[in-house]
Subunit: 362 residues, 2 copies
């Protein structure tokens, strides 16, 4: 019987443990129990710098111990700011040596989407659990390769779907699941902001850009989480009002989804429009969220007068702590690789629909 790392950590978290192997990393009696799992961030752009690193100062189950960056100057800044040991600083070339670093339990991939597959697979092969930012990858094939790499290396793969850890998002998911207002009939889901950059990966096709994978996934998740179903077909239209910036990828995407129950959704996403709301129409009531996918302050109301406005200290800290608990206790992740794949399946169908101008089965 093969004992997975998560089984080990689960045991560890309950009591002491003997020497065990997990993947290709040695654990056990030779190493003291960790209070916090060690995380290395791969890619030190805005989201790592301004969101994840601060959140990691608030986490209880994990801590920032390593970084992986192609920019030496960034390494110096981070080293000083977060007291990161030299031996925990990697670049993209020597990254695979992370396999031999017991300080690092989790690799969090925060690179442009086109690089997710490579670094998730390399992290998995290094025996590290993986957190991967959204969109999971530019293609279903990439997602499957990432899921398989993590499975065959006995590591967990969590997608950075912070919203699914937010009690305000969970509130409407629960209303649907419990049939509080009967079946879902119609959903409107919008997510967009104004991105005026022209040289970011979000404007680059090669790097996995385009609004659909970025904000579009929030619009899509609004519909998927609202219905609790997977769409069976989609028709979509892409457009831009700023062709000088959005040369390679779409600025705006609108798409309509069919669900198996007969529920339907109209979704809108854009890099040129500030909008963020969700309206779920049920047989016997409604739920409305605005914003629906912010970092904080997601809130809403229901047709019975209920207010959705749960306190949330830090969304990303909660996400990482809950994902770490799933690793420690070997329980199901809230948003595993398979969840990321579900979205990318729809995203692929949306691009097919844009290309054909027709409805596409999923």
């Amino acid at each position: 019987m093969h004992i997975e790392r998560r089984d080990f950590l689960s045991t560890l978290s309950m009591a002491g443990a003997a020497t065990l192997f997990s993947g290709n990393v040695l654990f056990g009696a030779t190493r003291p129990k960790k209070d916090k799992l060690g995380i290395a961030l791969v890619g030190l752009g805005y989201y790592s710098t301004d969101v994840l690193a601060p959140a990691l100062q608030l986490t209880e189950k994990c801590q920032l111990v390593g970084i992986v960056t192609g920019t030496p100057a960034k390494a110096e800044t981070w080293k000083a700011k977060y007291n990161i040991a030299d031996k925990n600083i990697y670049n993209y070339k020597n990254f695979d040596q992370i396999a031999n670093n017991p300080d690092i339990d989790i690799v969090y991939v925060v690179l442009p989407p086109s690089m997710h597959r490579e670094f998730v697979v390399r992290a998995a092969k290094a025996g590290k659990h993986v957190f991967c930012e959204k969109p999971m990858a530019p293609s279903v094939a990439d997602c499957l390769a990432m899921i398989n790499a993590c499975k065959s290396n006995n590591v967990k793969l969590a997608i950075g779907y912070r919203c699914q850890h937010d009690p305000n998002i969970q509130a409407y998911m629960k209303a649907t699941k419990e049939g509080k207002f009967g079946k879902v009939k119609m959903v409107t889901s919008a997510a967009g902001y104004i991105d005026n950059r022209s040289n970011h990966w979000k404007q680059s096709k090669a790097l996995g850009g385009g609004v659909m994978g970025d904000m579009g996934v929030y619009a899509l998740q609004g519909a998927r989480l609202a219905t609790g179903e997977e769409p069976i077909s989609v028709i979509a239209q892409a457009s831009t009002t700023r062709p000088e910036i959005y040369k390679e990828v779409e600025e705006t995407m609108m798409f309509m989804l069919d669900f198996p129950s007969g529920a339907r959704a109209a979704c809108q996403t854009s890099f040129g429009i500030n909008m963020n709301y969700l309206q779920i129409t049920y047989e016997k009531g409604w739920v409305r969220m605005e914003p629906q996918s912010g970092y904080k302050g997601n809130k809403g109301s229901m047709s019975d007068g209920s207010i959705i406005d749960f306190p949330l200290k830090n969304q990303q800290a909660k996400q990482m702590d809950e994902d770490c608990l799933a690793i420690l206790n070997n329980t199901a992740l809230i948003a595993p690789g398979e969840e990321g794949l579900r979205d990318i399946k729809v995203v692929e169908a949306i691009y097919k629909s844009v290309a054909s101008g027709k409805n596409v089965k999923i």
Copy 2:
């Protein structure tokens, strides 16, 4: 010079007047000035019975003086209830004799849509001004024939677009027109209710049914009035969750519109879903209405904190009074036949898109 009836009535409303002819109806010194224009309702279904007749008890510029019905029993009921003179009661066969009835200035066509063209044209030929319920007609060709008949008979044609007379709807139209929040970028517009009937014209293709012409026009108008523009293309999908009732026509229609400015709209309408809201996303703010097209209680809010909640005694009474004033003063109607035609042009394109599964230019 041909003097139109509306010119005459305009004169009348300001002072006395000499003998004049308008269309084929004699007016003038032989007839005293009317305090209220006389209206005859054609078709005594729910909307005439429960909405328009009560509203006509509140109007200041017009009154219910005549009825046109194919059901003698209804004629008796209405005659008793509203004190209608025998000479002002017509059936569909002798309707054209209304030309000789000076009590009746306006014919309000409240029949199933497939009958609008015939009765609008007959009313125009009888020299009567015409109010016509929405949807204006099942086809653009019908609308054009109706507009031309009214023009050539020098009578006005108003579409029963009650919402355009509602100050709450006018409030967001004004915000757009004045550029209060910059240009419109995106609109979400939903209008639906649960219709469980199976034998109404709304479920009959031959009678001009289908949700698109009925509630769909409200969803469409939400987008048109919000942008202040006419759509240039549309992609649409029809569906039903109750094929046993919706055999001939669609229960639900979803459609996405492009506007010349680059603004876009996602619209939803259904006979199987209770929903009624409008969200307008501007460059620098938003307006949200819910409900957006009710008989009463339309209200909303704006991103600057403004509340849209104007008092409105009776929407249909205001509609009819304002349309009568346009007749009396020979001023522009708020919603003339041309406005009804604009919607039916889009409705035709929507059905073409459903048939082809593709985007259709308008």
